[in-house]
C-alpha cells in the first residue's frame, strides 16, 4: 500500500475510533464504528486478505452493527448527560491509555517481520481455497465448536430477549392463527 494512501486512511480510522468513544449520541457512535470497520476492511484487502475483508463487511459491518442500531432504536436511546464519569477519572483513563498505546506501539513497531518485499508470499495467499483448506484440516475442532457456539448464541439471544407473556396475552388467540 502506498504511504499516500495509508496515512490519510489511518487518520480517518483514528478519527472514526475517536468518534465511537467521544460521541454523545449513541446512533452517531454506531455510525462511526461502521465507518471504522469499513476502513479496516480496506486494510485487509491491502494485506492480501480478500476473504477476511469480505467477511468483515458481511458479518461485522453488515450484521453485527445493524443489530447494534436495531437495539439503539428499539431502546430509543438519546444523548444522556449522566453518561460520563468525573473529569479526574477521565484524565486518569486518558493517561493510562496513552501509556498503553506508547508501550504497545513501541513493542509492536520493533518486532521484526519479513515483509512481502523480502520474501514472496506463498501461492494463493489469502484466497478462499487456502483458508478453507486450513480451516477444515488444522482447525477443524475449533470450526465445529464454533458452529455449536453460534447455535447456543442464537438460542440464548432469543430466550433472553423474549418478552414474558402476561396472563392477558395467554387468553386471546394469537393473531393470524386462523390464516
Amino acid at each position: 500500500m502506498s504511504p499516500y494512501l495509508f496515512y490519510p486512511l489511518a487518520c480517518l480510522t483514528i478519527a472514526g475510533a475517536l468518534g465511537v468513544v467521544l460521541n454523545n449520541n449513541p446512533v452517531r457512535s454506531a455510525l462511526s464504528l461502521v465507518a471504522t470497520l469499513f476502513l479496516l476492511a480496506v486494510y485487509y484487502i491491502a494485506l492480501q486478505a480478500h476473504l477476511v475483508a469480505a467477511l468483515q463487511i458481511i458479518v461485522y459491518a453488515g450484521a453485527v452493527m445493524v443489530l447494534f442500531l436495531f437495539v439503539i432504536t428499539l431502546l430509543n436511546l438519546s444523548p444522556d448527560p449522566a453518561d460520563r464519569t468525573s473529569p479526574l477519572f477521565g484524565a486518569a483513563a486518558l493517561g493510562s491509555a496513552l501509556l498503553l498505546a506508547v508501550v504497545l506501539g513501541r513493542a509492536l513497531w520493533a518486532t521484526t517481520l519479513p515483509g512481502a518485499a523480502n520474501t514472496p508470499l506463498p501461492e494463493g495467499f489469502g484466497t478462499t481455497v487456502v483458508l478453507a483448506r486450513q480451516l477444515f484440516s488444522e482447525y477443524l475442532v475449533a470450526f465445529e465448536l464454533t458452529s455449536i457456539l453460534l447455535l447456543v448464541a442464537v438460542v440464548g439471544a432469543v430466550v433472553l430477549a423474549k418478552r414474558d407473556p402476561s396472563p392477558a396475552d395467554m387468553d386471546a388467540p394469537a393473531p393470524g392463527r386462523e390464516a
Binding site: V21, L47, V59, Y60, L75, W109, L131, Q134
Partner: protein, 100 residues
C-alpha cells in the same frame, strides 16, 4: 514504504482508544461498541502479522474471532434489552446491585 509494522502500530492505537471507551463511558451499548473496536484492533494485528510472516493461520484466527464476536454481540445485546426492560436504564452506574 508501508511495512506490516505500520499496521501493528495503528492496531495498538485503536486498541488504546477502545480501552478509553470502555473505562470512561457509562452507557452500556457504547461500552459494548468499544469492546468491538478493541476486538477489531486485535484482528488487524493478526492479519498484519499473517501478511508479514506469510502464514495463513493469522487469517484463520481472524475468522474465529469474528464468529465469536458476532455470537457475543448477539447475546450481549439481548442481555442489554432484558436489563432495559427491568430497570428502564442502560447506565452502568445505575445497574450496580452486585457492587460493594
Amino acid at each position: 514504504m508501508v511495512t506490516p509494522n505500520h499496521y501493528l502500530a495503528l492496531s495498538a492505537v485503536l486498541f488504546a482508544i477502545g480501552s478509553i471507551g470502555v473505562v470512561v463511558r457509562r452507557n452500556l451499548v457504547i461500552i459494548f461498541m468499544s469492546v468491538e473496536l478493541m476486538l477489531n484492533a486485535a484482528n488487524l494485528a493478526f492479519v498484519a502479522v499473517a501478511y508479514g510472516r506469510g502464514l495463513m493461520s493469522g487469517q484463520s484466527i481472524v475468522f474465529f474471532v469474528m464468529t465469536v464476536a458476532a455470537a457475543e454481540a448477539a447475546v450481549g445485546l439481548a442481555v442489554i434489552l432484558a436489563m432495559f426492560r427491568n430497570r428502564q436504564t442502560v447506565n452502568a452506574d445505575d445497574i450496580a446491585l452486585l457492587r460493594w
